[in-house]
């Protein structure tokens, strides 16, 4: 099968996950031409990573995943071991830039042209040492012994009369992950924001190498704790595609239950925090109370407040009995009533709306340009949700049966991102009720025997946006390479745009309205 008239042959990935096609480009030019065609066809860059294949085929490989109307396309390109260079795609998809820089830092394959500044490497390891190369294995275990020499970073200088810089972080005020923000301001107005991330880089991708499938699942669930179910499912889905396993229908229903519970929990927390930032302490305490009730029911039914480690390759580790399902339905009804009432209060609260409206705005063109997905994309009017039908796309089970209605709002500002969250809670509560009532009868887990040399890609619509996990097994059926991709990669640059022209004191509110993962993108 071919796409966009480009001469690359694709094969559809087997299994019951979302539609994915896998193909190989013959040359850098072919990859670049494909990227141009994908861009023209309204596609987006969903992920980009590299792998060291020298032991198997004597080369390095770069993998690009493009999202488009009908699903996802992965194009891989072999790069010669002695000169592993591929074309810079950031001119076509700006989102490529940080992913390319990270890939260079970790695998030592580079782009010809484009931003060459390190991204994840802050000076903790030497510039000519690459953790994800096979020959780096020995050193990577237990304190590599490199001197940790934090390096200076070349921020893009911003000129202009009266402009000055405000550096913030890596440690921020508040309970939040670390990252560095460099604001260029005139008076209170933000001219430009440049982020420097990577502080959360803890070598996750290296840790996957050589692990068995079960150990991989545990790790995948800790890429970004707030999205543990989304990652565990995306990982399981990739492994199942790689190993030709099909999780039973009841397991899919249970996974969806967990994913939607994760979505609701995070949206409740975010709506509370947004109220708090806009000086509505009442909203904060109400939403935090609802969230806590929600997590306590998780603990009761799933044995863990965030449902960590409950989704595994082959299915789920637990089943829910009728009383548990009833408790879910009852809670949905109660929470639905309260959220509706709180939605009215938020809508009618003049002070809050004043802070939310027009603040931190981006539009659909920019969202498309930056390959944005998830809440932030839907809040610009893009209808993009892997759970929902769209032209030419049927979502994978169990979503197809549920008729998911994606929430959108065209305003692109903080108000829109809050409104999308409200609407998504309501829709998730409906889905949860339907899932709980209609859970099919079957076992909840099948064997997923490792398939030596297998590889697969999993895609899940997490609460923040599209979570992807690419998995490749080695000749013994252990993990050779796992790349988890967080939607925050694409959304962080959108935040840089969103704060432009707003005032510095609005930054916390705008940042909160995106609520991006540092850990998920720093890996």
């Amino acid at each position: 099968m071919r796409f966009f008239g480009e001469p690359i042959e694709f094969e559809k990935q087997a299994g019951i996950g979302g539609p994915v096609w896998l193909g190989r480009a013959e040359s850098g030019e072919a990859l670049q031409a494909f990227a141009v065609a994908a861009h023209r066809a309204d596609g987006r860059l969903a992920a980009l990573w590299g792998s060291d294949e020298r032991r198997r085929s004597g080369c390095f490989r770069v993998h690009c995943v493009f999202g488009f109307m009908a699903g996802h396309i992965r194009v891989s390109l072999d790069l010669p071991a002695e000169h592993p260079v591929y074309p810079d795609l950031s001119g076509i998809f700006p989102a490529a830039s940080r992913m390319q820089r990270a890939t260079r830092d970790l695998v030592g394959i580079a782009t010809a042209g484009g931003d060459q500044r390190p991204w994840l490497r802050h000076g903790a390891w030497p510039a000519d040492w690459y953790p994800l190369r096979h020959d780096a294995a020995q050193l990577a275990n237990a304190g590599a012994g490199f001197p940790n020499a934090p390096s200076d970073y070349d921020f893009v200088p911003v000129g202009g009369e009266g402009a000055h810089e405000i550096p913030v972080g890596p440690i921020h005020a508040g309970i939040i992950e670390p990252g560095h923000f460099r604001f260029s301001v005139i008076g209170e107005r933000v001219l430009r924001l440049e982020q420097r991330l990577g502080y959360q880089h803890k070598g996750v991708e290296k840790l996957f190498v050589g692990r068995n499938l079960a150990e991989g699942a545990r790790l995948a669930g800790r890429v970004s704790g707030d999205s543990t179910c989304a990652y565990a499912w995306a990982y399981a889905s990739a492994v199942e595609a790689a190993c030709g396993a099909s999780p039973p229908p009841r397991a899919l229903g249970l996974r969806a239950l967990m994913l939607e519970r994760e979505r609701v929990a995070n949206h409740l927390g975010d709506l509370g925090a947004l109220g708090n930032d806009a000086a509505l302490a009442f909203g904060f305490s109400q939403f935090m109370r609802l969230k806590e009730d929600w997590l306590r029911l998780n603990a009761k039914l799933f044995g863990q407040r965030f449902m960590m480690d409950r989704i595994v390759p082959g299915g789920t580790t637990l089943d829910l009995e009728a009383p548990a399902l009833r408790a879910i339905v009852e809670q949905c009804e109660a929470v639905g009533r309260e959220v509706k009432a709180l939605g009215k209060i938020y809508d009618e609260h003049a002070g809050l709306q004043d802070r939310f409206l027009t603040t931190g705005a981006i539009d659909a063109d920019l969202a498309r340009e930056l390959s944005l997905t998830g809440v932030a994309a839907r809040a610009t009017g893009l209808i993009l949700d892997a759970r929902a039908h769209r032209q030419g796309y049927t979502p994978p089970p169990p979503w197809a049966m549920l008729g998911v209605r994606p929430a959108t709002d065209e305003r692109g500002d903080v108000a829109a991102r809050a409104a999308v969250r409200f609407a998504e809670i309501v829709e998730s509560l409906r889905l949860l009720r339907e899932l709980a009532v209609g859970l099919p009868d079957s076992e909840v887990c099948v064997e997923a025997p490792p398939q030596p040399g297998g590889d697969g890609l999993g895609v899940i619509e997490g609460w923040r946006g599209e979570v992807l996990v690419g998995v490749a097994l080695d000749g013994e059926g252990r993990l050779a390479r796992v790349h988890p991709h967080d939607p925050s990669w694409q959304a962080w640059p959108a935040l840089e745009h969103a704060v432009m022209r707003d005032i510095v004191p609005d930054f916390p509110l705008i940042n909160k309205s995106f609520n991006l993962s540092y850990s998920g993108a720093d890996l």
Partner: protein, 165 residues
């Protein structure tokens, strides 16, 4: 809105598990006030977590646990903190910043390492990118294991640290 506040009432419950613990918190808090002459202030530092631990630290401020109600406050600067509440593993990229935060915290300072990762490095361990446990980078007074630790465990850990003081 007022009606809603009245209907919900004040949902600050005594910290779960035991009313005795709630009384203990109150008692300790008075003691802290007496010793420090003010409330206990905490600076939270995420030195490399998966953000799961942060979710539970956030929960300490929900109306059930209501830490602030006991006069225990999260502050924005280590300079105003009695205690550092540190999640880990400590990444190499955060090693320096964590040391600076520690140095900026006035003596006598308490350090609580949070989560399996903060206590031992957890699933991330030690590697080219990770220093592992918080105590590999700064001195630690109390460890709160768990992945992530529940709000109750966090509260107990904070109390244990204060008791040691």
């Amino acid at each position: 809105m007022l009606r809603r506040i009245l209907r919900t009432g004040i949902v600050s419950e005594p910290p779960p598990e035991a009313g005795a613990e709630a009384r203990e918190v109150a008692r300790l808090n008075r003691e802290i006030l007496r010793i420090l002459g003010r409330a206990l202030t905490i600076r939270q530092v995420d030195a490399g977590s998966c953000n799961g631990c942060e979710l539970e630290i956030h929960a300490l401020n929900n109306p059930y646990t209501n830490l602030e109600g006991y006069g225990i406050k999260f502050v924005a600067s280590p300079r105003h903190a009695d205690m550092l509440l540190v999640t880990g593993p400590v990444t190499k990229n955060m090693e320096h910043a964590l040391k600076v935060a520690y140095d900026c915290t006035p003596d006598p300072k308490l350090v609580v390492a949070v989560g399996d990762c903060g206590c031992t490095g957890g699933v991330f361990g030690e590697s080219y990118a990770s220093c592992g446990a918080v105590e590999n980078v700064i001195p630690v007074d109390v460890r709160v294991p768990g992945c992530p630790p529940t709000p109750v465990a966090l509260l107990a850990g904070i109390l244990a640290a204060v008791r040691r003081d």
